[in-house]
């Protein structure tokens, strides 16, 4: 059996998902792969069930908002961990904010349930097929998604901490 390296994992992914693998990078020794958002469940199922890779543990999932990335503003980030090879991988799926839908991971991992609700709560990502998609830590009446970048943390009229004062 070949030694499982990041390059090997990437090759395997490219072999199986072809053009759906959009880009990849390795940062701080963790492989990070961006894929087509429609394939998220397939990709994670493949990584979990492959007899060599065995990414059996969904460590974490969350979203990141990039307002300048027009058409792909929201990014779903999944961290997988293999207890067999002790490798971790980061998977990214970009979705448009105008239609923030992605398939739910609860079909594979119960752990995704609340994490997806949290992501919905803060970013408004709709997880299609989720059994109970409602807000989890914020009040039900809230009508916006507070972790999106357009909601500034402090008073918008305050500029004493603006970047320009620090030479940026």
């Amino acid at each position: 059996m070949a030694e499982i390296t990041n390059t090997y994992i990437l090759e395997k992914l490219q072999q199986h998902f072809g053009a759906d693998v959009l880009s990849s990078e390795e940062s701080y020794s963790m492989l990070s792969v961006t894929l087509n958002k429609d394939r998220n469940v397939d990709v994670i199922k493949f990584l979990r069930d492959d007899s060599e890779l065995q990414f059996n543990f969904l460590t974490d999932l969350c979203a990141v908002h990039y307002p300048d990335n027009v058409g792909n503003e929201l990014c779903m980030v999944y961290h997988m961990h293999s207890f067999y090879t002790n490798l971790r991988i980061r998977l990214k799926f970009f979705i448009p904010i105008s239609h923030p839908h992605i398939a739910t991971m609860t079909v594979l991992y119960e752990a995704a349930n609340w994490q997806e609700r949290e992501t919905f709560d803060f970013y408004g990502v709709v997880f299609d097929g989720h059994p109970n998609l409602k807000r989890i830590v914020n009040v039900d009446e809230m009508d916006y998604f507070p972790l999106r970048r357009e909601y500034p943390l402090e008073d918008g009229t305050r500029n004493d901490k603006a970047d320009e004062y620090f030479g940026r």
């Binding site: 971790r88 949290e118 507070p146």
Partner: protein, 397 residues
């Protein structure tokens, strides 16, 4: 299992609010239990009562100010949260800190683990009706806080250490207190263990209570003592050693059935292992400095700030958050008191994190609670909850 309850009987269910402020929940979270007599049919959980939006706040604060946010997540073992955060930033800025600082961190993190487990296990005793063990053990948590106080000046929300090392070296009092703790705690701990571990009443109460299989635990994203109690030997300290954990000789205790008794026993054994680690770290404490040479991130000693121009400049730049950071994404995790505590940091080179996500272990594994208590008695649900070590601050983030 066939559900023996037909729909006509549904109207006879009792709804019971366990929480939000109930002494047995040990924190602010609510469970709406649907009961058939005393048997739990269904549970609906509500969390978020003390949500403070740390992830949003962290997007506005320089890195060194995020440490105080991490304190308030798992406040039973805040030094682990603090040091985990420092290590995340150190990974981003790629700085290797001296061995001495790493060993001091290990000592502090293991003390924090003992404090965390003392709380959890002593409270399992209380919830079974054995208050005695609690009164013995809680004194020793105070003694651990005395050690924190010598190291960083604070007791509960510690803000311990700095990015790039420790704020000060271990002083003589701290070393004396640690030695005294290692000498005297095992005696009391032994009394606590002999009070409960083979106690027939306690065993009847906790064996088979709130079990979860290894397979389900993994599916639910369990980590830490709860996962190990189910029989999976996953420990971040061994799988991805950080802060020189590879230098120490220690065992990872595991259980078999994932019930309350196994969780209790795993924590007890972990405390023994933690004491072993502290002893080794203290005996082999390397010489050297307690901080790395990263003036752009490590706050200079206060006396230098008052007397040296350069230190004053660095102090100002750090405090005002004027320091550039590398662009990149980093995930770092540590073995917290109750599981894998992860930090996913996205940096765009600005003063604050572009995005910071905390992988909060108990937020993830607490989802399994309804499944674990379904079909059991109300009093077992209380025990299952206290043995899961759910900390409200971490749960809500």
């Amino acid at each position: 299992m066939q559900d023996p309850i037909t729909p006509e009987l549904l109207k006879d269910y009792t709804t019971l609010n366990l929480g939000p402020t109930h002494p047995a929940t040990h924190g602010i979270f609510q469970n709406v239990l649907k009961l058939d007599g005393e048997v739990i049919v269904d549970t609906e959980q509500t969390v978020g009562y003390i949500h403070r939006a740390f992830e949003k706040i962290a997007e506005r604060r320089p890195f060194y100010q995020v440490t105080t946010l991490t304190d308030r997540m798992n406040y039973c073992s805040s030094p682990i949260n603090n040091i985990g955060w420092h290590m995340t930033v150190e990974k981003l800025i790629q700085v290797e800190i001296p061995k001495r600082a790493q060993y001091i961190r290990v000592i502090i993190m293991e003390l924090a683990r003992i404090a965390d487990h003392i709380i959890c296990n002593a409270v399992i005793g209380v919830d079974t009706g054995a208050l005695t063990g609690f009164t013995y053990m809680f004194q020793w948590r105070e003694k651990i806080y005395d050690i924190y106080e010598q190291i960083c000046g604070a007791r509960l929300t510690t803000n311990i250490g700095r990015i790039g090392g420790m704020e000060r070296d271990l002083n003589e009092t701290a070393i004396r207190l640690i030695n005294e703790f290692l000498r005297d705690f095992p005696k009391v701990f032994g009394q606590f263990r002999s009070l409960l571990e083979r106690n027939r009443i306690f065993m009847d109460r906790v064996i088979g209570t709130g079990p979860i299989s290894a397979e389900r635990a993994l599916n639910y994203g369990f980590t830490g003592p709860n996962l190990r109690a189910a029989g999976v030997d996953y420990d971040v300290r061994v799988m991805n050693p950080y802060s020189s954990y590879q230098d120490f000789d220690f065992n990872i205790p595991i259980g078999t059935s994932g019930d309350t008794y196994d969780r209790f026993m795993v924590r007890n054994e972990e405390m023994v292992e933690s004491m072993k680690i502290i002893r080794q770290a203290l005996d082999n404490l390397p010489e050297g400095r307690h901080f790395a040479d990263v003036p752009e991130f490590y706050l200079p000693p206060k006396e230098d700030v008052y007397t040296k121009m350069e230190a004053l400049i660095w102090h100002f730049k750090i405090v005002m958050g004027e320091q550039d950071v590398p662009i990149g994404e980093v995930y770092h995790s540590v073995e917290g008191g109750n599981g894998e505590l992860g930090y996913y940091l996205v940096s765009d080179g600005g003063r604050a994190a572009y995005r910071l996500h905390f992988r909060r272990p108990c937020f993830i594994y607490y989802q399994a609670y309804p499944e674990m208590i379904k079909g059991s008695m109300l009093s077992d649900a209380i025990l299952t909850m206290s043995s899961m070590n759910v900390i409200a601050g971490e749960l809500d983030g």
